[in-house]
């Protein structure tokens, strides 16, 4: 069961979104997040929602999975909306009863914030749904490579990220094994109050650390044997190449931002901030 987990939350597929260059996807995701925050009028907001919707459709990721990524933040969305409703002042008062003052601005802000957060989460999870962790780390390495000028070891950092991703399933298996071994010796991991349960984790964490350190040594030897030096001169088998579709995607996002700016100018800004 535990073997079935995917690293990250990559959804295997071959849509246009899957085939886009990972570097471009990262940049476009950042651009979209910025556009979320410049968006201030309702028509602009609508444009953003439409865009998000189209992206999900193109990706062919099942809507169910997309909703799953939104679920964990539902509470945050609800909480910020309620706070906004009660605390933002201005506009026409809607409810004015004792200490409860709800104004139109408050309601608008609440809707805006909720929609913004949901769009943000959906779009950024689209990035991880359609890009393998390997492609992501490679892209991050490439995008950060100018930092090499400042003597920041970008490729070593990327290697560390790759290794961390690689060892997640291995360590999950290990935790499983240790937990079973401790249970077989009579460890009680499920009962007791919070403190007791945290204490019960110690006999799992200690062996996990010991074995991880041993693994690290062996891995270092194995990497040495395969001539890894961490220095320059390393090439990559998979070269990243920008295709016309990547520039098309860039054009679409630029148009989206232009559209949002225009709609902001022509329609009344709802948000005061």
């Amino acid at each position: 069961m535990i073997k079935d987990i995917t690293i990250g939350q990559y959804f295997i597929g071959d849509s246009l979104l899957h085939r886009l260059d990972a570097r471009m996807k990262i940049i476009l995701t950042i651009a979209f997040i910025v556009s979320i925050f410049i968006c201030k009028s309702f028509p602009a907001l609508l444009l953003m929602v439409l865009f998000t919707f189209v992206v999900v459709l193109i990706s062919k990721v099942p809507v169910k999975m997309v909703l799953k990524s939104v679920k964990p933040i539902a509470i945050i969305v609800a909480f910020t909306s309620i706070l906004n409703i009660f605390y933002v002042r201005g506009g026409t008062p809607l409810v004015d009863w004792r200490f409860i003052h709800i104004t139109s601005n408050g309601v608008f802000t609440a809707i805006f914030m909720a929609v913004r957060i949901v769009c943000l989460v959906i779009i950024s999870s689209m990035l991880t749904y359609t890009t393998t962790p390997t492609m992501l780390t490679d892209a991050i390495e490439k995008l950060l490579s100018p930092l090499k000028l400042f003597k920041i070891p970008v490729s070593t950092l990327a290697m560390m990220m790759t290794l961390a991703l690689r060892f997640i399933p291995t360590l999950i298996d290990e935790i499983d094994r240790i937990t079973n071994a401790q249970k077989a010796r009579g460890a009680n991991l499920d009962d007791g109050n919070f403190i007791e349960r945290v204490k019960a984790l110690v006999p799992i964490i200690v062996p996990l650390f010991v074995s991880s350190i041993r693994r690290a040594y062996e891995l270092a030897d194995a990497m040495d044997c395969r001539c890894y030096t961490g220095g320059p001169g390393r090439t990559r088998m998979k070269q990243m190449k920008l295709h016309p579709r990547d520039f098309a995607a860039l054009a679409v996002v630029v148009l989206l931002i232009a559209g949002i700016v225009l709609l902001n100018i022509y329609f009344k800004a709802v948000l005061v901030r």
């Binding site: 690689r166 399933p169 291995t170 030897d221 044997c225 030096t229 001169g233």
Partner: protein, 286 residues
């Protein structure tokens, strides 16, 4: 015939440095000499702590001898400038496949070695495909390693070494963590590499049935070589092997006991078929 020897241990000693708990430095290998000719399939046997893993690590410069000299294709492993060349010549496969796979995709892992050597991308692609086909893992090239079986993972690890085009592969108990099926897969791969590609193989193991398949068997005890020869000659020494805490192949053991019980059976039997024929012959004489 100096040029035909690929790995040469010349009176090598190695001791792990004294640690806080263990004040005496432990001498693991002492005055060890061994020549491995090109293309040989050598099995190194010995029970735990006899220094066989240390010998493996000495071959490609993970460890450097405290006395004596190890040379690989004429290169001194103690020479820091040559260590990359040494590792281009000798690849190493370890016991636990999980701890030697570095990438999240099979083909990316196989590409790791050639990438480190700075080869051009299309050349890497060619080598990766070739190496994966050689170990029969080509269909699995875009899988995630953690979803493979132990034997498959170990074959991926071997492919990672083949892709570096090494002349020699050292394997440190590559089958110790595998089930019988996985062991068979890995042994078949090792034999294929040796026979078809002419790669020198040094297999460190404690499985007798694996050692039987080698061209030559070296038995180690307390950091020294105690027996050295073709499997047929080495496994004759049943009593000697047992005194070292090692087993002999089951067929050899059976023949040995029958001979002790008075049956006229030769002392150089290695597998079940030979054993059955010898018993039959002995019974017919009676």
């Amino acid at each position: 015939m100096e040029d035909k020897v690929i790995i040469k241990f010349d009176n090598v000693s190695f001791a792990y440095e004294a640690s806080e708990e263990d004040t005496a430095a432990t001498q693991v290998v002492d005055g060890f000499s061994l020549d491995v000719p090109k293309g040989q399939f050598l099995a190194v046997l010995g029970h735990n702590g006899c220094g066989k893993s240390t010998v493996a690590k000495l071959i490609n410069g993970i460890l450097v001898p405290s006395a004596g000299k190890v040379t690989v294709d004429g290169l001194d492993t103690a020479d820091d400038d040559k260590v990359t060349d040494v590792r281009r010549t000798v690849g190493m496969v370890f016991q636990n496949p999980d701890n030697q796979i570095v990438a999240t995709i099979v083909e990316d892992d196989v590409a790791f070695g050639p990438e480190n050597l700075g080869m051009p991308p299309h050349e890497i692609r060619k080598r990766v495909d070739d190496a994966l086909k050689a170990v029969g893992m080509y269909e699995f090239r875009d899988r995630e390693p953690h979803r493979l079986s132990g034997g498959q993972k170990q074959r991926v690890a071997i492919a990672g070494i083949i892709a570096m085009n090494t002349k020699c592969i050292v394997m440190d108990e590559p089958t110790a963590m595998l089930d019988p099926h996985g062991r068979q897969e890995v042994m078949d791969t090792i034999q294929m590499l040796n026979k078809e590609r002419g790669i020198t193989v040094i297999l460190i193991t404690h499985y007798m049935d694996e050692a039987v398949k080698a061209d030559r068997v070296v038995v180690m005890d307390k950091g020294e070589i105690v027996l050295d020869g073709v499997p047929r000659d080495v496994f004759k020494n049943v009593e000697k092997l047992k005194s070292l805490g090692l087993d002999v192949p089951q067929a050899t053991e059976l023949a040995y006991r029958l001979r002790k019980a008075g049956l006229d059976i030769p002392d150089n039997i290695l597998d079940e078929k030979e054993c059955a024929e010898a018993i039959l012959a002995a019974l017919e004489v009676k």
